[in-house]
Symmetry: C2
Subunit: 182 residues, 2 copies
């Protein structure tokens, strides 16, 4: 059986600051119909800056919806019509002050594909130059540096809880180890 669902209708029920919610009706693979509640978000970028010694810079920020401060890869939302790479350059500079001469695309991930449209584009940033953080108004975060080995250990043992950070560490390690060619 072909695994496909086709949209019949789509009603917008909430438009907020960072996402919209629609209630859609779809046709299932067996011809019946079903309801799908969907959170639409613009997607974003995730950046792992790796310096010449293999050190990575992560950011710690309070996440209101999780009720705690989380250690995460640098990340930010795509603005309307924006391409991922320019957004990645901007977010890296704003959150860490770093600029990178070498950028390696690591594809994208879907954050929660059951009901969230969000796609996140992953980048490795290398050949780094340090500068000053330029945080958005109302944005509070600390940049922290770890060895790659320590970051992987924290991802593995649960000190890092953020899904996108585990995802970029997996892809970055494979790329840096030469398991995936550029």
């Amino acid at each position: 059986m072909e695994l496909k669902e086709t949209k019949i209708s789509c009603e917008s029920v909430f438009t907020g600051k960072v996402f919209e919610v629609t209630v859609d009706q779809v046709t299932l693979p067996d011809g019946r119909s079903a309801r799908r509640d969907v959170v639409h978000s613009s997607g974003g970028v995730v950046i792992l800056p790796v310096d010449a010694d293999g050190g990575v810079t992560l950011v710690r920020q309070f996440r209101y919806v999780q009720g705690e401060a989380l250690l995460e890869a640098v990340a930010g939302k795509l603005e309307a019509g924006e391409e991922p790479l320019p957004a990645a350059r901007r977010e890296l500079r704003e959150e860490t002050g770093l600029t990178a001469k070498k950028w390696v695309e690591l594809g994208y991930i879907a954050s929660s594909p059951g009901f969230l449209t969000e796609k996140l584009w992953l980048f490795l940033a290398m050949e780094l130059t340090e500068g000053e953080q330029e945080l958005d108004d109302g944005e509070f975060l600390n940049a922290e540096k770890y060895s790659f080995t320590e970051a992987m250990a924290m991802a593995a043992d649960g000190r890092i809880h953020d899904g996108k950070t585990l995802a970029i560490l997996l892809r970055a390690r494979a790329r840096l180890d030469g398991e995936v060619r550029e």
Copy 2:
């Protein structure tokens, strides 16, 4: 500065089948207030069944919000008040027909901590016995078996897009390699 945001108010604006949306007002670390739009979901479980030869079973299903079929770890939602391990046993049996004698907890991840409360509890399922799939009504998916090496390669090169699947593969590999002790 302490990185904390405190809730002032919370208004429910949408209650759907799998998530609720609230618009909250919070106090920022510098004392000003800001708005936070929040998607509340019950969270879920993610299971990686690994057989004696190191083979893993993944599932392929059409994801309406992504517009394509994705290859993912076995997963499902927590029902109200349900503990993660019983939910993991149920979802593994329903989606793949497998039952496991050995379960290893791999902690949790936050899927999209900027606006989504979802926490996913990760489990390695081992010492497997095969059985029949028991899919929910309206659920369509195919179980597919891969070597662990092939699954890691697909996660690394982008054939697997699903964030939770990358996360569980990273933690499973570290655990199976003995980098993290049980």
